[in-house]
């Protein structure tokens, strides 16, 4: 059989699949607290580890984490990267820093931008604090923390956070 000379008929199917994801009670609590400039975590009943955002159960100990704890909005940059290429959907001046921030008292990091400083001034161990959206603009979602900024405090030594990388 001769191969077709014209393009073979195809169909374009634009899939429409509606979803609405539930945050679940634990993450809903976390998101709601962001509105009040509060960061919540949960404590593992077996190991005492603090997870943020709060988890129902600890991944490593497979134990319940029912105790909700409030964490400060300060911590240290553990690992970070400097973004030099524009990313679709983000309107941020290049280069910018995306960092893993271990809040004081938390055993896992949350992620955020580090701003109000030069990219080259960010180091592992740099102490940072959250900069929040102003009152009335916080919606109870993760962008309520606009970014983190360096506090100017002395850098934390690697030994103090190496277990949190």
């Amino acid at each position: 059989m001769e191969p077709p000379k014209e393009r073979v008929k195809f169909i374009q199917t634009d899939l429409v699949l509606p979803y609405h994801y539930y945050a679940g009670d634990y993450k809903a609590l976390y998101l709601r607290a962001l509105k009040d400039k509060k960061i919540l975590g949960s404590k593992c009943s077996a190991t005492g580890k603090v997870f943020v955002p709060p988890l129902m159960s600890s991944p490593d100990a497979h134990a319940p984490c029912e105790e909700i704890v409030e964490l400060p909005d300060k911590g240290i940059v553990t690992t970070f990267c400097v973004v030099n290429v524009p990313v679709y959907g983000r309107d941020i001046e290049l280069p910018y820093v995306v960092a893993s921030v271990a809040l004081d008292g938390a055993d896992v990091s949350i992620y955020g931008l580090v701003q109000e400083c030069k990219a080259e001034d960010v180091e592992m161990g740099t102490r940072v604090q959250a900069v929040w959206k102003p009152d009335g603009e916080r919606q109870g979602d993760h962008t309520d923390i606009k970014y983190f900024k360096p506090t100017g405090e002395p850098k934390a030594p690697l030994e103090s956070f190496i277990h949190r990388l």
Binding site: I11, P18, Y21, Y22, G24, D25, M56, S57, P59, D60
Partner: protein, 377 residues
Amino acid sequence: MSKLRNVAIVGFAQAPIVADDPHRTAPEMLYPVVKQALKNANVERKDIDYQCAGSSDYIDGRAFSFSQVMEVMGAWPPVQDSHVEMDAIWAAHLVWVKMQAEECDTAIIAGFGKVSEGSPMHVLNLQLDPFYHASLGLDHVSTSALQASAYMAKAGVDDAGLAEVAARNRAAGAKNPDTQLRQAVSAAELQKTPFVTSPLREGYLPPIGETATCLVLAAEGKAEKMCDKPVWIHGVDHRIELQTIGARDLTSSASTKLAAKNAFAMAGVKGVNDAQVVELGSTTPVEELILRDALGLSSGLGGKADGPVVNPSGSPLCANPLMNTGLLRLAEGFRQLSGRAGERAVSGAKRAVVHASAGHCLQQNIVWVLGTERRWA
């Protein structure tokens, strides 16, 4: 049949089956269920060698959706894990094969599917061929209705027959505290419910539901310590038919027939009448009639109740939480044979035949034979 390894069901737990749980994510629904299943099997997570989940990315609306439940299945330190993009009863089959290969002695099998977060009608439409079937807007109800019309014409079963089958399942469901629809409804009342897609009425179709499930399997030597009455797997086989529904005889189930023949041979039983309990994964009355025929059971129509008790759980007509529906059939077999079936227990049940299905119009079918005694000496 050569000698195989004796493997038993030793524990099961499930979340309540509800239309919509707005308080918990799929992992959060599953976590307490895994903990309870382990407790029921008298073990800690560290005593489990292997884990396998059954779920669907399209149901959950996430790529690689199974990875979200690693944390709640206790996957640390790193464990051996696998996943099937199918009802979790197929995950149980994969684990059984792993145990035959002596790769593990103990395993947990999880089912989850956050049906309320998406639109199952749209998802099940996409299961069909995109050129000729999906583009027509067919969903699982309309393909089931096509099958029902064909079967009713061929077998001479009328609307009253469908109502009778549905009513019998609803009566059974009323005695099952773990199912979703727990009210008995008469055939006459069901016949008054409106057509969803003719000839299928609202009363002949399952409700929308979601849950999370966890089954514990263990090989001989360990199973006895994990359960007072382990339920042994005597035989299992599954077969699949063509995707093109137009190329299949919708009025019969060749794959169920063959899977049953192979499972019965493995179990060393003559046929379905060697069992006292049969649990079918039928989501419409017509599917039940087709499956009864394929397995060698009487239709049960006209109030006849010869042979084994069929669908003591109330069947998927009372609860059809996608990705869990099949595993719940296996759980019913376990509950019936291990003295955990409460008010609906079939007295003197020593052997059960369990069936589950996947795909449109009974495309793929799995048949298990379970027993209270070990199969192989």
